[in-house]
């Protein structure tokens, strides 16, 4: 496959968007060293744009991003793709509405993942954004489709755009890469707040009907139309 001019324009724009969005990971202190990555699906194509492996966040630019197909094979770019590429690719193959994927090892979300405990829905913000408890996915080794499959199966059983992969860390998805980054920021924010709440007591989850009303309202009313 060679990239047409039109496709090259779309890809160029996505390379910039994805490179810039990594700045939100550092600004929100979700990542240490190079341990986190953002990708975006190339709309209508079997392609995605993703971070190269092991490159510092201040060396990232549109040019250093790489393009792979949805089996993780390099299609454009000079560097090797993120070591998490297979997981991102699996998600795009199996969840057609997902346009962006983010993976971090952010502290509090990863602490819940290390214990294998979902984050209970004890805050209106969790009901708004995640529609209920934030679920835990299975422990899976890197190297084949295990991580991707664990993400997809867990997300399909939930309204949450975030999954806490056991002993590993959070993966988030969104309609766009920016939405997935938002979910990565907010899953760490609520993971931290709920952690603090449980350090000194045991807050009760919100009633299911209140969660449903908050979630429905937020998905339909919040932001600019």
């Amino acid at each position: 496959m060679s990239l047409t001019d039109e496709l090259l324009g779309t890809v160029a724009e996505l390379r910039r968007t994805v490179a810039d969005l990594h700045g939100e990971l550092t600004r929100n202190e979700l990542v240490a060293w190079t341990a986190g990555n953002v990708s975006a699906r190339v709309p209508g194509r079997e392609l995605m744009v993703i971070k190269p492996s092991g490159v510092s966040y201040d060396e990232l630019s549109a040019d250093t991003m790489v393009v792979t197909d949805l089996h993780g094979r390099l299609r454009d770019g000079d560097l090797a793709p993120s070591s998490d590429t297979a997981a991102h690719a699996y998600v795009y193959r199996h969840l057609p509405d997902v346009g962006g994927v983010v993976h971090t090892h952010s502290t509090y979300a990863t602490a819940w993942a290390a214990r294998g405990e979902p984050i209970p829905c004890v805050l209106t913000m969790i009901a708004d954004e995640f529609g209920g408890a934030i679920p835990v996915g299975p422990f899976a080794l890197i190297g084949d489709d295990s991580i991707g499959r664990g993400i997809v199966e867990t997300l399909r059983a939930s309204r949450s755009p975030a999954v806490l992969m056991r002993n590993h860390g959070p993966f988030t998805v969104g309609r766009t890469a920016r939405d997935a980054v938002k979910a990565a920021v907010l899953v760490e924010d609520v993971a931290r707040t709920v952690h603090k709440a449980f350090e000194l007591g045991a807050p009760a989850p919100l009633p299911a009907e209140d969660i449903d009303r908050l979630y429905a309202r937020y998905q339909n009313v919040y932001g600019q139309r």
Copy 2:
């Protein structure tokens, strides 16, 4: 209602002030993504200036702020107002001395709110600024006056300019928007310090008469006259 020239001058200044004060929310790490807002009453008018809904803090400017009446109806500006506008408006309608309102989901204040526990007055700073324990307001769903009413009833029963709305987060008020921001910064600061104190023990509250003396002194002596 159309805005007169004089009123436009006042509103223009408040738009800038309110936009700038959101910078204190990010600088003090009180907000994640777009989850927090500042408003100011337009003095002598049934109007307020407030953040637009779902807009990033680095895109905020005097121009993007919106003006609503005290029932939350848009009067000036191109964007939809904050989804918390009804709560701000209710506070201005019922507490005539309040000139500014702030809402955040800051981590530690929200953790106390998730447990539904007031922050006990175990520090001289809490006596100075809040005049006693920082109270908890009821759980209330967004969509009508429930949140606003919960804020007002709780603040009326206390000297505190901050209320921890249960399972939700803090709201603060002040004579000006800047004063309300100061209360938002300090409620998180003392929520964090008292949280840390209780993690390793159980500090005793200050005696009521000491709280009264500290509060009286601070309200009358601190700062520049």
Copy 3:
């Protein structure tokens, strides 16, 4: 008393030093809003330079600093001095080797102060810098010499340049204002580390003879001669 030209030169330099050192308080996240202050003794004079009351850290400059005598009476400057001036002044009157004083409400140091617990000497850094456990001073109300007296009596019974004033926060001293700021930075650093250590266990204090050797070495060997 009117200030001579020579004295004015010294004072002008100290105003700049003290103003700049407040930047270390914010950079090291020791203060929220305006709640912390640095002062310096004017060498050989019954004078000190201190922060004005209730002024933001980004508005501080050499010009806005104020000069008081060692009973807290304004001698030079346009603004009212810090509300903690009496405590600083008392320290200078009673501890002639002290050239700088710092007061903050830094989170972890204040949490130990809220419980009234000294920070035990479980780290080589504490032995180096503080020469043993960091002591707690009495609860004292602002308004007379109680706070200053509590600071001085506690410091005299210890090698530590820091004291945790009960239910209030840390005060630190040094040969210079910069040394006092260093102690304010390090007392928060070790307060936090020891807090974390105790959250998951109970580290044992270092043996007294090791503390003595570390303290002696550090006071004589560290840094540039």
Copy 4:
């Protein structure tokens, strides 16, 4: 020994590298005041480049770095070397593959060190980077080879590039100074995450065979070839 022109070129480059890498210590909040240092071995020489003692991080530059031999004696530079020079030098003398050493008192790693507890391998990131639990070294006083010997003996019994020196803090090593800094950043990151995980439960360590597979893969596949 006088330095030849060629050696001076290598040393000049290492001075800059080592000075710059201290910026990663502050950016990643691993150090308070001047309490942390980076060194690099001069390849093929019995020399190392290290931070001067007690100098602020913003005053560090290529010029202020110092060169010592591998017994800590000053060979080039105007300032006294770090008070931890003997420990760095011992590591270079005994571990020939080590090209860089870092020492910090980073909060969470030091908290584990204060309790004398290794950080258990409950996260894939720990398996990847450290190949198992992060070990604790003995308590040792500064002043002779005790600290260096404790570091070397502990690292030889482990795959980890980090050791938690008891009641003191972490030391890390790497093929280069940059690798040692990476290990210093990541040991604090996982120390924090595992601390948070244990605050609310007791995560189980990964099975030894999974740790081996993750470690082998990461050492061979991650990053750019």
